[in-house]
């Protein structure tokens, strides 16, 4: 389909892709916020099976609300300890020396129990839509056609060129804009086949019922607290992906990319456009 001499419109994203994208966007937003609220209650990470009261934690966020009403926050990683006051985290006065908040500040009428309810409702959305999408990617051959990099794209010289184009924030034009570039393909494959499954499986590994029904799952992660730590670290990797992803949408053309993810239609600019 042609609109004018300098533009061509591709039907880029079929409906299942758009539905999955927005379902995941909603799920990740709610899961992240509720997840952070859950983390705030016990902001310590451990390796192994059991962990309590920050003993032996490899990461500890902490905050105090001192008498002078001055919040002070600290981050401990391994044997290192940093004063992060004003840079990371804050505290809420709660009458018990302060409650630590990593990012999210819940409204006053927020009930903690509800946090888990919302977390699980959207975890179902994330966890159930993923296998459906994987089947769609395979059945429609979209995995081969759009996501698997070609051998040529994986050559070091080609990858280095792509990285350089990204670092210069160059917008792809012409034929190159009609398909995902190699870094994009590898990132999407990582998100779809490693990070999201990792989130879902490490979440399930923390379940009491699952540890009874499928003990191998918790063992696969090397223990309950290891699964919890991997859950947190993978979530931070997903946050990093979302930040870069949204930034790239602005670099590559916000209106065009948003339209393509809403209506499916993506406008390709001719390479020789004046």
């Amino acid at each position: 389909m042609k609109t004018n001499q300098n533009e061509q419109v591709d039907y880029r994203h079929p409906l299942p892709v758009r539905l999955w994208h927005w379902a995941n966007a909603a799920a990740v937003l709610v899961l992240l916020l509720t997840g952070l609220l859950i983390f705030d209650i016990h902001p310590h990470l451990y390796w192994g099976e059991a962990g309590q009261e920050g003993e032996g934690a490899f990461v500890s966020f902490s905050g105090q609300h001192l008498d002078q009403k001055v919040p002070r926050t600290e981050l401990q990683i391994g044997s290192g300890r940093w004063n992060t006051t004003g840079k990371l985290g804050s505290t809420l006065e709660d009458g018990f020396g302060g409650r630590y908040l990593l990012v999210a500040s819940p409204p006053e009428d927020w009930q903690f129990g509800a946090t888990r309810g919302w977390h699980f409702a959207f975890a179902w959305l994330l966890g159930l839509s993923l296998p459906l999408y994987a089947v769609y990617l395979l059945a429609s051959r979209r995995l081969d056609r759009t996501l698997l990099p070609t051998r040529g794209e994986l050559r070091p010289r080609s990858m280095a060129h792509e990285l350089w184009e990204h670092l210069r924030l160059r917008r792809a034009r012409g034929e190159a804009a009609r398909h995902y570039n190699s870094l994009q393909k590898l990132t999407y494959l990582l998100v779809i086949f490693v990070l999201i499954p990792g989130m879902v499986l490490s979440g399930l590994a923390m379940s009491n019922t699952l540890s009874a029904a499928w003990p191998a799952l918790s063992e696969l992660f090397g223990g309950h607290q290891t699964a919890r730590s991997i859950h947190f670290i993978t979530a931070m990797l997903l946050v990093a992906f979302v930040l870069v992803h949204v930034f790239q949408v602005f670099v590559a053309g916000f209106v065009n990319l948003m339209r393509s993810m809403i209506t499916g239609r993506f406008v390709v600019e001719r390479e020789s456009a004046p």
Partner: protein, 254 residues
């Protein structure tokens, strides 16, 4: 806060997350959003019951894996003279009442419970706050006590009424299980922990151990067990103290 930029970042982050969460907290009081949460909880229960069809046991650990520290959560010490008197009498005057939809209501002393067939298990306690600890529990399987009382055909849920209160002006603690979890072989009325009598902070003289579910379902300081057909008449009707006053999920096998 150190600088204007970090303050602005922190404040805008807080404002944005606050707005989304405020949306959620308002939404969950209204249909159909309450229905979404209800649907999700029911879906979780059904899905997990499919996984539990073969009645698996939770993992049990060895003595060497016991946690050195087992945090006390909820109530450390039930306030009031009534509990104080029970404690002073070393719980000789304490009785576990079993009533409701049973053929033979019971009133059992601690010594009677300790004379019943017992089970000792070393299991993981997972708190919904994120910490966990491994402890050894000794007690009577709940199913044994329920069979002594004899369940009537209309019995569906087992409610635990406790001697502690989370907030002084609030209700006494209560929790509930359905019969499938109540008769699981690892569901105990525990009177011993780590080879000693149950400490006060962990619910002396008797607490529930429901290993298939997380921390707050494991009611401490159990006073009486009521067998019911519906949960509507218990507290505000959602089946437990945290469920009623903090919107916690009732089925907490996650």
């Amino acid at each position: 806060m150190s600088g204007p930029i970090s303050r602005r970042v922190v404040l805008s982050g807080l404002a944005a997350t606050g707005a989304v969460l405020a949306g959620c907290s308002r939404l969950d009081d209204r249909t159909p959003f309450r229905q979404i949460l209800g649907f999700s909880d029911a879906f979780t229960l059904r899905a997990q019951r499919v996984l539990l069809a073969r009645r698996p046991l939770v993992r049990e650990y060895s003595l060497s894996q016991l946690s050195g520290t087992f945090p006390v959560n909820g109530t450390n010490m039930p306030p009031g003279d009534a509990y104080r008197r029970l404690l002073d009498g070393e719980f000789r005057d304490w009785r576990l009442k079993v009533h409701g939809l049973v053929n033979r209501p019971l009133s059992l002393s601690l010594a009677q419970l300790q004379d019943m067939p017992s089970r000792t298990q070393i299991t993981m306690h997972n708190c919904d706050e994120g910490w966990n600890a491994i402890g050894q529990w000794t007690g009577v399987p709940l199913g044994h006590v329920l069979s002594l009382a004899g369940l009537r055909p209309e019995a569906r849920f087992v409610v635990f009424h406790c001697l502690d209160r989370i907030s002084m002006d609030g209700n006494y603690y209560y929790e509930s299980l359905d019969l499938l979890d109540a008769i699981h072989p690892q569901t105990l009325l525990a009177y011993g922990m780590n080879g000693k009598p149950l400490p006060i902070g962990h619910g002396a003289p008797l607490r529930l151990r429901i290993e298939l579910q997380i921390g707050y379902k494991n009611a401490k300081f159990v006073d009486r067990i009521e067998v019911v057909d519906r949960l509507d008449s218990i507290g505000k009707g959602r089946g437990g103290w945290w469920e009623d006053f903090d919107r916690a999920v009732w089925y907490a096998g996650q």
